[in-house]
């Protein structure tokens, strides 16, 4: 682990100045490929309907589900389309789920005059006991009931259900299965420790001064200014830093100026301008010392729909001078030193959180891995580009490290798949509130949280450090 390795060298800094001071070379980039090409959008056309994305999703996922169904329920299981169903006959159907939720915000309901409804206040979860599941395939749809967890599942999931049609016209489910993990390339064997630092939710421009010191300490650790020689030596083994979204705080998005009179807002500047300048300075310090990948997030100045396109380099005049700075998409996929990384800035997980009973972000992350789709709720409740040829959010292969940013707390887990796949799941916490980042060790595929703190007037003992007994 990082700490143990750091502690191995003798402490030298509580002593008079020595003649020479060690300088460490950053581990060189041995192998890096950015595989986010599927998430790059070229010419964008929004004249298409969203139905195509569901159609292509089902077409792509069907073969995986058919093979899984055969594995689970025997090779002899009958796989039928909805139009071929006979009442009472036990068979397996593959289709896309739709969850009818009365609490789901619906723009049609909002603007409908006959209902005279006020807009619904935002809630943390929109689930309701009356939610219903409907299975849709290419031609038909059918309501589901039975042994299926309605609360947990969300719209857009492609799955296979085993059961039979009742006389009521509903499908009684006995069992269901997902596509499970995609095939995985074996992880490389590294001989030295190499780390990748995952940070998300820097939240610049948010007005909170405490996180600024934490951010500065983070940058100082990575660039080798902070710490003793041992720690600096370990920090030199950090081969990459990935900033997973929400570099700006949601406060920078305030739209007050749109509603105010022009004469009041003439001289004001958007909060994001100052925040981006600060971000540029931080990125300059980082890219002068380590390769950095910057992913946009929910509050960052790029497009809203997934996949989010990279931030424009014109916003970072100082930092783009260095070739180590890379502006990448959200979701982001890359191979770093032979280890496959895939991650998002957290919008997919938080959207599923809103429409599912699952509480733990890490659990949701694992679940998206199991259904083999990064963001099933797109385009239903999460903005998405109207794809029609392919659905790029389906996992083509299983990554070694799968992360999502901006979770409320740190979480990390090794998940094992049915074909001996081994995935490190990392829930990267929001830095502006937790002051915690994640260090992933590429050799051992383990993750260690690293947290920073200053001291404040009101802190007693070590509460701020989380070191309370």
């Amino acid at each position: 682990m990082f700490s143990e390795q750091a502690a191995q060298r003798a402490h030298t800094l509580l002593s008079p100045p020595s003649a020479s001071n060690a300088t460490f070379a950053r581990v060189p980039v041995s192998m890096y490929t950015n595989s986010s090409q599927p998430f790059r959008l070229g010419e964008r056309s929004f004249s298409r309907q969203y139905a195509h994305i569901y159609a292509t999703r089902l077409i792509q996922m069907r073969p995986f589900l058919v093979s899984r169904a055969k594995q689970h329920w025997g090779a002899g299981v009958q796989i039928k389309k909805l139009c071929e169903l006979q009442p009472g006959e036990k068979c397996c159907v593959v289709g896309t789920l739709f969850k009818a939720m009365p609490l789901q915000p619906s723009i049609l309901r909002e603007i409908s005059e006959e209902h005279n409804l006020l807009p619904q206040p935002p809630r943390s979860k929109y689930i309701h006991p009356d939610d219903e599941l409907v299975l849709e395939d290419e031609l038909q749809r059918i309501k589901l009931e039975g042994t299926i967890d309605v609360c947990k599942l969300v719209t857009g999931t492609v799955l296979a259900v085993l059961g039979s049609v009742r006389d009521t016209g509903k499908f009684l489910v006995e069992d269901h299965c997902f596509a499970e993990l995609a095939p995985q390339e074996p992880a490389p064997c590294l001989d030295t420790d190499r780390f990748v630092l995952l940070v998300s939710g820097l939240g610049l421009g948010g007005g909170g001064g405490e996180s600024l010191l934490g951010t500065q300490l983070l940058v100082d650790v990575v660039t080798g200014q902070l710490g003793d020689e041992g720690e600096q030596c370990s920090a030199a083994h950090v081969s990459r830093v990935i900033l997973a979204g929400n570099l700006l705080s949601h406060n920078t998005q305030s739209r007050d100026s749109i509603n105010k009179a022009k004469y009041l807002t003439k001289k004001t500047q958007a909060a994001s301008v100052e925040a981006v300048k600060m971000l540029d300075e931080i990125l300059l310090q980082l890219s002068a010392s380590v390769p950095v990948d910057v992913m946009p997030g929910e509050f960052d100045p790029t497009n809203y729909t997934l996949p989010q396109q990279p931030l424009h380099p014109c916003m970072f005049p100082l930092a783009t001078a260095y070739s180590t700075l890379q502006l990448v998409t959200n979701p982001y996929q890359a191979t770093i030193d032979g280890v496959r990384f895939l991650g998002t800035s957290g919008q997919n997980v938080s959207d599923i959180f809103r429409y599912s009973s699952m509480e733990d972000h890490l659990e949701i992350l694992e679940w998206t891995l199991r259904i083999r789709h990064i963001s099933p709720t797109a385009p239903d409740t999460l903005g998405c580009y109207p794809f029609y040829k392919t659905d790029p959010f389906i996992f083509p292969e299983c990554p070694h490290v799968y992360f999502c940013g901006n979770t409320p707390s740190f979480g990390s887990k090794i998940f094992r798949g049915p074909e001996d796949q081994r995935v490190l799941l990392v829930a990267v916490p929001d830095f502006s509130s937790t002051q915690t980042a994640c260090l992933v060790n590429l050799r051992s595929l383990a993750c260690q949280p690293i947290s920073f703190s200053g001291f404040g007037a009101e802190e007693e003992d070590l509460g701020g450090l989380g070191l309370d007994p």
Binding site: L213, G227, L318, L462, G466
Partner: protein, 419 residues
């Protein structure tokens, strides 16, 4: 000795200047490796405490190490006050590093000032932020200049859109083109300069719609290289082209200057109506009308949106002194045509014959002569001149024409000693 020097330095910073001395601040200020700075701070604390145990010194430390929390080993990095140091150390399972973070005279209530100190020193050292760091990255090389120059332009254009920079650069390609950055360093002379160069501005400038054009055309005439060419201007079309080129080359004025020009130029339109100029000026006329209108429009916008910037620009302008300007030249804006007339180039009598051959090619021969003949006295030398010709139109004269007495000799020389 050199060893003790840093102790005295730190002593001075902490005790006399009452600064918060963080290791990073010390590293940049003394130009030493960060680890050495940390060791220096420690040494200072030890010695100071040894010689004077009641010394008013508060120290903050950086502690880092691992801690078992929620089932996993968490690496903690914390800045702590001296009094909490031992407590924190005892909680950590493995201590990775401890070093002095900062020294200050007063007790700090929270770590905010530490961040501010580090941030300030970092801001002034942004370009070599990893110079004294313990980790050097071989891959962190600045991009090739071709790519980086475009980012440079972004840096420099605070106010103007980069498209204007583009336009400027396009113009500079065909002439003497000092690098963009150099041009930006040259300050525009002043309103008078603007007039001077306008006289020689071509339609080409008229075609450019950007504000930059208007300003830079005018200011370009004031530049030293432009000066010689302005003189040539009166000698022929070729010279005019060259002048234009030179003006173009000097158009890459700092964008701020552009903003500064409009308010100043407000008074100019009424004086700067280039109607008086003949032939070459015919082309220039539509230019100037356009520019005038543009400037007026710009002025409106500016007064609304950017008055603050304009004011600061104005201030900047006033301090600008061109290298070749002599003390008698100033940037006073004449407020009436009369002033212009009074200050119109009135070469001394000996010089009036010389202008004669000149007027052949000069844009405004008769008017110049007349104005020259009319007004003899001239206290101030202005960068550019406007004059009233026979028809009562206000015209421009290039700067050199407005130069003081000392120029007359030069004029005489150039004109082949026809005095």
């Amino acid at each position: 000795m050199a060893d003790q020097l840093y102790l005295e330095n730190i002593d001075e910073f902490v005790t006399d200047q009452n600064k918060i001395v963080t290791y990073k601040w010390l590293s940049y200020t003394l130009g030493v490796h960060v680890n050495q700075a940390k060791q220096m701070l420690y040494d200072y604390v030890e010695r100071k405490r040894k010689e004077n145990s009641g010394a008013q010194l508060h120290v903050t430390y950086l502690v880092s190490g691992s801690l078992i929390q929620n089932g996993h080993s968490c690496h903690k990095v914390a800045v702590v006050r001296e009094d909490k140091l031992e407590a924190v150390k005892s909680k950590l399972a493995v201590t990775a590093s401890i070093h002095v973070y900062s020294i200050q005279k007063a007790m700090l209530k929270d770590s905010g000032p530490l961040f501010n100190t580090d941030y300030d020193i970092l801001k002034s050292n942004l370009q070599n932020c990893s110079k004294f760091s313990a980790i050097q990255c071989a891959a962190a090389v600045p991009r090739a200049p071709a790519e980086s120059s475009s980012s440079e332009k972004f840096e420099q254009s605070d106010l103007q859109v980069s498209s204007e920079t583009q336009a400027n650069n396009e113009l500079t390609t065909n002439g003497h083109s000092p690098p963009t950055s150099k041009q930006i360093l040259q300050q525009p002379k002043g309103i008078m300069g603007m007039f001077a160069s306008k006289a020689a501005s071509k339609t080409q400038e008229a075609n450019k719609e950007t504000k930059t054009e208007a300003k830079e055309v005018s200011s370009a005439g004031n530049k030293a290289p432009g000066k010689g060419n302005v003189m040539n201007n009166f000698f022929g079309k070729a010279a005019m082209n060259k002048l234009k080129v030179n003006l173009d080359s000097e158009q890459a004025v700092k964008e701020e200057k552009i903003v500064e020009q409009p308010p100043v130029s407000v008074t100019e339109p009424k004086l700067a109506a280039p109607t008086g100029l003949k032939k070459p000026s015919k082309k220039a006329e539509p230019v100037k009308m356009q520019q005038k209108e543009k400037k007026r429009g710009k002025r409106m916008e500016l007064s609304d949106d950017e008055t603050k910037e304009t004011e600061s620009m104005k201030k900047k302008r006033r301090r600008i002194k061109l290298p070749e300007s002599d003390s008698s030249e100033d940037e006073v804006i004449p407020d009436s045509p009369g002033d212009y007339e009074a200050e119109s180039p009135s070469p001394p009598p000996p010089a009036s014959p010389p202008p004669e051959p000149v007027p052949k090619t000069e844009p405004e021969p008769p008017s110049v002569k007349s104005s020259n003949g009319e007004k003899r006295k001239r206290k101030r030398v202005l960068k550019s001149k406007t004059f009233v010709d026979e028809e009562g139109c206000i015209g421009f004269l290039p700067r050199w024409w407005c130069r003081g007495w000392q120029f007359d000799c030069q004029v005489l020389e150039i004109l082949g000693g026809q005095s």
